[in-house]
Point group: C2
């Protein structure tokens, strides 16, 4: 893999990596409809404020969310609704996994009966 190709995949991996955490997926999901204050997100998540703040900065560095300061609060919103497509993609994989698992289970049962 040449240097240029490698760089290409690294840029893309950075974005995927930013989404690769349950809390950050939750945040993206919550931002799909409304802007939210850090505070609101912290309450929903139930983690330390500093932890949530760091997750938000990972998302911001990847360009997935942007922030806007209003008064003492900081509001976060999705940079582009595109990311929501990720959820559809994930569901697709989950669905196919479920089907495979079901098939495997059925196969196992048939073997048991034999």
């Amino acid at each position: 893999m040449d240097v240029k190709t490698k760089a290409r995949y690294e840029v893309r991996a950075k974005i995927v990596k930013a989404l690769a955490h349950p809390t950050r997926l939750f945040i993206v999901d919550q931002l799909s409809n409304h802007k939210r204050r850090v505070n609101e997100l912290t309450d929903m998540i139930g983690a330390d404020g500093s932890t949530v703040s760091k997750h938000l900065s990972v998302l911001r560095n990847a360009g997935i969310v942007k922030d806007e300061k209003i008064g003492a609060s900081v509001y976060y919103e999705l940079t582009t609704p595109c990311v929501l497509n990720f959820f559809g993609c994930i569901e697709g994989v989950l669905k196919s996994n479920a089907e495979l698992h079901l098939a495997a289970t059925e196969h196992f049962e048939i073997q048991e009966i034999k």
Copy 2:
């Protein structure tokens, strides 16, 4: 976030995490058209065979690829073409990042001229 919701996001994060590496994105891309032998992938990637094998097992554990042994070789293929949608999603974020960056640059230049 209650236990059930948390579990829900953890399952999804596991799949995203499996894709969150440049080499693994490359592999998925390569598998989008053909099945490939481990050997072929190793040659294309230019890493140690054991390294590639471990990346493949990460993808397999997440249900993203499946393997089939034919003779002495193991062929890998995508479990579902769904994952290819990920690339479209990523490009969407990259595009929006590029636009933001452009806008930020323009804004900076205007300020400089003032």
